[in-house]
């Protein structure tokens, strides 16, 4: 349970970081929060030649409004999302999801961008970022490029990041007026990885729901946009939408896998439970608008 030997670097400028990535690329791992990397090193599941500690880099710990987006830098901790008035006001879905991530001590160190760059299929945060239509900002010595969340997440621990790139920030669109954000997951205990989950946003206009987007968590090798469910919710009056129909739409979206933690049948059952909770929330939101 001790880390293997590696060379350690702590760049103090982006130039230094990019030079290190250019030189070491695939043989390097970036240490930001370290809450996933450190256990991997300790269990010898990773043995990089170089660990690049980016915690000394200036300017990466900010949450700022940029145009129509909230831009969240590479060193923004999960706990920062919890405490941020900007997140609460403009992208509340992120706060709703982040409180399910592990435990306080882990959220104090772990970073949102680190979680996105790792792309663990059971991790919470990629799902709401996908549901909200987030965009990743990737930087290297070759310059900067942006990629949508849908294109970024490519499979288990697989993203669009090239070996010489780092995830510098994520942009998340700011909620429209009247936009409701909902997040539900099923986990055995507080802090466990989700066994199934849904992140959703919708604008309630009486019985009608518009601007609907939803993503599924922990039922595939990456977060999955629930397009069929979103279409169903958009076309059906809230009063006539049943949890069974919504859950069926979720289950149609992707081949749900089994694991030792939960079989496919159990996960489908969880999606049915979540569908019921989402509809309850949507009903409550709709009543709020009326009253």
């Amino acid at each position: 349970m001790k880390c293997p030997a590696f060379a350690y670097a702590r760049p103090e400028s982006e130039e230094e970081l990019l030079a290190l990535l250019d030189r070491h690329g695939d043989d390097a791992r970036i240490l930001a929060g370290g809450q996933s990397l450190m256990p991997m090193l300790a269990m010898r599941l990773a043995a990089p030649a170089v660990v690049i500690d980016i915690n000394a880099l200036p300017g990466l710990g900010e949450i700022v409004i940029e145009g129509d987006d909230l831009k969240i830098g590479a060193l923004v901790r999960h706990a920062d999302l919890e405490r941020s008035p900007l997140v609460e006001q403009y992208t509340p879905l992120l706060k709703q999801a982040v409180v399910h991530v592990a435990h306080r001590g882990i959220r104090n160190r772990g970073t949102l961008c680190g979680s996105l760059a790792l792309a663990d299929p059971a991790a919470e945060m990629p799902c709401p970022v996908l549901a909200l239509g987030g965009t990743m900002v990737l930087r290297s010595s070759r310059g900067e490029r942006e990629i949508t969340a849908g294109d970024f997440f490519q499979g288990i621990y697989t993203t669009a990041l090239e070996p010489d790139e780092y995830l510098a920030a994520v942009r998340v669109p700011i909620a429209h007026p009247g936009e409701h954000h909902l997040f539900h997951e099923i986990a055995r205990r507080r802090g466990d990885y989700a066994l199934a989950g849904v992140a959703m946003r919708a604008v309630c206009d009486g019985e009608k729901l518009t601007n609907v987007s939803a993503a599924l968590l922990a039922v595939s090798d990456r977060p999955v946009l629930a397009r069929k469910a979103a279409a169903l919710v958009r076309t059906c009056d809230l009063g006539r939408l049943s949890a069974d129909d919504l859950a069926a739409a979720f289950c149609e979206e992707v081949e749900i896998g089994s694991s030792y933690q939960a079989s496919a049948a159990v996960r489908r059952h969880y999606l049915r439970t979540i569908a019921a909770r989402l509809l309850q929330d949507l009903q409550a939101s709709a009543e709020e608008v009326v009253s």
Partner: protein, 161 residues
């Protein structure tokens, strides 16, 4: 065997200046315990689940088994020794004692630091909230109820007082 890469660490631990050379791959918890002799921070699962290694790093709780000693550079670190010496844990310690919220004591430093932060954050509103706040700290002895009782009492005393 080739020489292991080392890193210079200059930091503050429990209010005292520290200047040490550490192997690059040494974990922060091993550094605190073995190089600084601060054995109040415990090594349990060594992969971030049990919370026995909880310290305070730049004002927030963190798992010392999930950090490198090298990351102490430039940081302000408080272990259970420093927190207890400061007196800020006194109410919690007395409440833990009164409720028999410890037996072997292995989880206790982590429990105290986590509970203290949760109380300051205001996330101990009811027993379920206390359980949620302590969900990352495992105890093998007490069955947890006494710990929840102890934290609840401190919360009640603070909101009444």
């Amino acid at each position: 065997m080739s020489a292991e890469e080392t890193v210079l660490v200059v930091c503050t631990v429990n209010g005292e200046a520290v200047r040490e050379t550490v192997p690059a791959r040494l974990s922060l918890v091993d550094f605190l315990r073995e190089q600084l002799g601060l054995t109040g921070t415990h090594v349990g699962c060594e992969h971030g689940i049990c919370g026995a290694c909880t310290i305070v790093y730049d004002g927030r709780t963190a798992r010392a088994c999930l950090m490198l000693a090298a990351q102490a550079h430039g940081a302000v670190i408080e272990t259970i020794e420093g927190a207890a010496a400061s007196g800020r844990l006194r109410e919690l310690q007395e409440s833990f004692y009164a409720h028999a919220a410890l037996q072997c004591g292995f989880c206790t430093p982590g429990m105290l630091l986590t509970a203290a932060e949760a109380l300051t954050d205001g996330t101990c509103g009811d027993r379920q909230a206390i359980r949620d706040a302590l969900s990352g700290n495992y105890c093998r002895c007490t069955g947890y109820h006494a710990i929840v009782d102890a934290v609840e009492d401190v919360r009640k005393a603070r909101s009444d007082g």
